[in-house]
Amino acid sequence: MTPTPRVVEAGLRGFACAYERYLEDPFRLGQFVAVREGPCVVLGVVTDSASGPEDPSRPLQPRGAADQSAADVMTANPEIRLLLRTRVSVVSCGHIEGEAARPTLPPMPPPLLARVEPASAAETVRMASDATFLALLVVAPGCDDAAIAASVRTAAEAFGTGAHEFRVRAGKELARLLRAEPARLTSIMRGIGA
């Protein structure tokens, strides 16, 4: 069973969640995630993911024989995984209240220790269809161009056969938002189209 991360830091513009231990395949960059606890469903886009020791003063030492892979080392030393954590940063891109999906900041942060789950394809389509969610990502300090491009790629998958139309729609929204930053737009569009 895939472990579920929980909110460990929360704000209106974003939150951080962490797994109980180290995980090799956490949420992916640009993935849409949802916190379904609290008065509304908060949706966000994964902008960063990092793994390391729980206690920064005790850095992880390299170990394992020359012919051992990372998985072999973890299997041989199961206690290590418990001393490590995987942490994911998320930028809020909207929320769902009842039937309404709004690509705006949630009225309040998601509850701490709330479970963070992958957004469903339907939730992703509802939130991303007009691409206005990108306005929150473009201005978020922790959201770089690669994360924005990844979010569009990820959302496009949810649109199935309408993926290209969505990419164009999202691109046009980015062109509008970044009209004074053509180099940045070009960089993001390369990330989307690649």
């Binding site: 046009k172 980015l174 062109a175 009209r179 053509p182 180099a183 189209g193």
Partner: protein, 558 residues
């Protein structure tokens, strides 16, 4: 207003220059398209697309354009930037405020608000703009790119003042002229009395207005072919068939003022023409026959020297000196006249033309249009100008006399006459406009019920005063800037019109503007179908409402 016809929204502009309309994604509009935008109060502003511009929202998009190439990322970036970072806008020259509720239209004095929707004009708006729904009108054709819309012009207003068709050779001038005259003749035929009919006197240089018209699209029935009862054909050809009369000119008919207009096309000089006045005064009505002889006749000697002793060796140089004319000018006049009288339709001696003039005038005032065909003389500009000028001058004098005798009694006035001339600049060029009867007709407008319909390739050569009196202008493609400037000079929005004329294609596209139209229009004139119906381009409610088989008003009243 947001529908299938919407093309964009107003984003800026000025009343005196143009409105800027940002096109909606995927929408297109071309030069010459009519567009409309709502004004406060319910009226529609009607304007014409006079320029198309590519704009960028910010300089960045064009300073750092997307890379060329077919890779998906570049292609996606180009697609994304369309209508976001870069977009297409059209400039619309505002012309009319159209009241679709039936009120009066007015020149554009207001602008729509920012972001007002702009749509391609529909037939209802075009009809309201041109205000022809209740009047007989001529279908000018379809505005470019608007194939379902017809532009019609009030036929009476079109011929109320002089009109002109201008364009390079092969652009379709003659075809549209035939269409206009066909509608004119048909409309006149529907009028109850001859006095109500406007008739045409066509000087048909290349035999296009008689039975058949030849053009690049083939051969079609022309005025006489379409209206055998309402058009009479006269010809200069000796063996012409199916014509009313042959036109001949007697040497006694040639007056010094008839020579003035020939200076440009013959070797006649101004002093030579001046000498003709002296010759006529001194030698009498046979002056042309006399001075075209190799040597002076006894009659000439008798007239000039009278009772005095004439020198023994009287020659033309002595005759010239006796008349006080420079011998060189006199020789020039003799040479010019000799070349004139060699023409087949010029006969020595008796006056010929008065009889023809009387016949033509009677025909015109009887309600029939007249086509004067030149046959093989059509390629001879001198013949064309001589005959057109002589006939027009005399017919105009008849009309002037009739009009003056009527003394304001409309029932006694002659019917209205439209004189159609080709190569008009030869008749009314800057040097000759003062002398030419056509310059006079143009300047006097419809004072004597006579107007002009000129067809020409070089409007810049026409006297500007005369050109300014041309009410409605049909402008086909013109290459020369001077010609374009001559036509649009003084017209509101001339810079935009100049661009429009420059964009006309070489065939069947015309910019029409002036007196009969509330705003300029670029049209593609209707094609001439293989089987033509008389007055096909005429939109006449009276005619349409008449049941099939019912006699026409003309048939009832003669």
């Amino acid at each position: 207003m947001s529908g299938p016809n919407q093309v964009g929204v107003v984003v800026g502009g000025s009343l005196t220059k143009s409105l800027e309309v940002r096109l909606d994604p995927g929408a297109s509009a071309a030069l010459g398209h009519y567009v409309m935008a709502p004004l406060d109060g319910g009226a529609q502003l009607l304007g014409m697309v006079t320029d198309i511009v590519l704009r960028s929202a910010e300089a960045g998009s064009v300073s750092w354009p997307p890379p060329a190439g077919d890779d998906p990322a570049s292609a996606l970036l180009r697609e994304v930037l369309q209508d976001t970072g870069v977009y297409t806008a059209v400039e619309v020259t505002p012309y009319l405020e159209v009241d679709l509720t039936g009120g009066d239209n007015a020149r554009a004095r207001r602008l729509p608000r920012h972001f007002a929707p702009v749509a391609l004009a529909d037939q209802e708006t075009i009809d309201a703009a041109f205000a022809v729904d209740e009047k007989a009108s001529i279908n000018l054709g379809t505005p470019l790119g608007m194939d379902r819309v017809e532009v019609c012009v009030d036929i009476e207003k079109l011929f109320e003042r002089s009109a002109g068709v201008f364009g390079k050779s092969g652009t379709g001038k003659t075809v549209i002229a035939v269409e206009m005259l066909d509608a004119r003749v048909q409309h006149s035929a529907n009028r109850p009395t001859s006095a109500d009919r406007t008739v045409a006197l066509v000087f048909d240089m290349h035999d296009d207005y008689g039975q058949r018209i030849k053009f690049e699209g083939g051969e079609r029935a022309s005025l006489k072919g379409l209206h055998p009862q309402d058009v009479a054909v006269y010809s200069l050809e000796r063996n012409a068939i199916n014509v009313e009369r042959r036109i001949e000119i007697g040497t006694r008919d040639i007056k010094p003022e008839d020579l003035d207009v020939l200076r440009d096309v013959t070797s006649l000089t101004a002093p030579g023409v001046e000498a003709s006045h002296e010759c006529e005064a001194r030698l009498g009505i046979d002056w042309v026959d006399e001075i075209t002889q190799p040597v002076p006749s006894a009659a000439v000697v008798r007239r000039l020297w009278g009772d005095e002793d004439a020198p023994e060796d009287v020659n033309w140089a002595r005759v010239a000196s006796r008349m006080g004319v420079h011998p060189g000018s006199f020789d020039n006049l003799r040479r010019g006249l000799r070349s004139l009288v060699r023409r087949e339709f010029v006969r020595s001696g008796e006056s010929q033309v008065n009889d023809v003039i009387n016949h033509v005038v009677k025909t015109l005032q009887g309600g029939k249009s007249v086509v004067v065909q030149f046959g093989r003389h059509g390629n001879d500009l001198t013949s064309y100008m001589l005959v057109a000028n002589m006939l027009s001058r005399r017919i105009w004098e008849e009309y002037r006399e009739a009009k003056e005798q009527a003394q304001g009694n409309r029932t006694k006035e002659p019917n209205r006459l439209v004189i159609v001339i080709e190569e008009a600049h030869k008749f009314v060029d800057r040097a000759l406009a003062g002398q030419s009867i056509f310059g006079q007709i143009a300047r006097e407008l419809r004072k004597y019920n006579v107007t002009l319909f000129v067809i020409d390739q070089r409007p810049s050569q026409i006297d500007s005063e005369v050109l300014s009196q041309i009410g409605t202008k049909f402008c086909f493609q013109l290459d020369s800037d001077a010609d374009v400037d001559a036509l649009v000079g003084g017209v509101a929005g001339r810079a935009a019109l100049r661009q429009v004329i420059a964009s006309l294609e070489s065939r069947q596209q015309a910019l029409v503007f002036g007196h009969a139209l509330p705003m300029p229009v670029i049209v593609r004139p209707p094609d001439l179908p293989a089987v033509r119906t008389p007055g096909a381009s005429l939109r006449d409610r009276l005619q349409q409402q008449r049941p099939a088989g019912a006699p026409s008003p003309a048939g009832l009243f003669g």
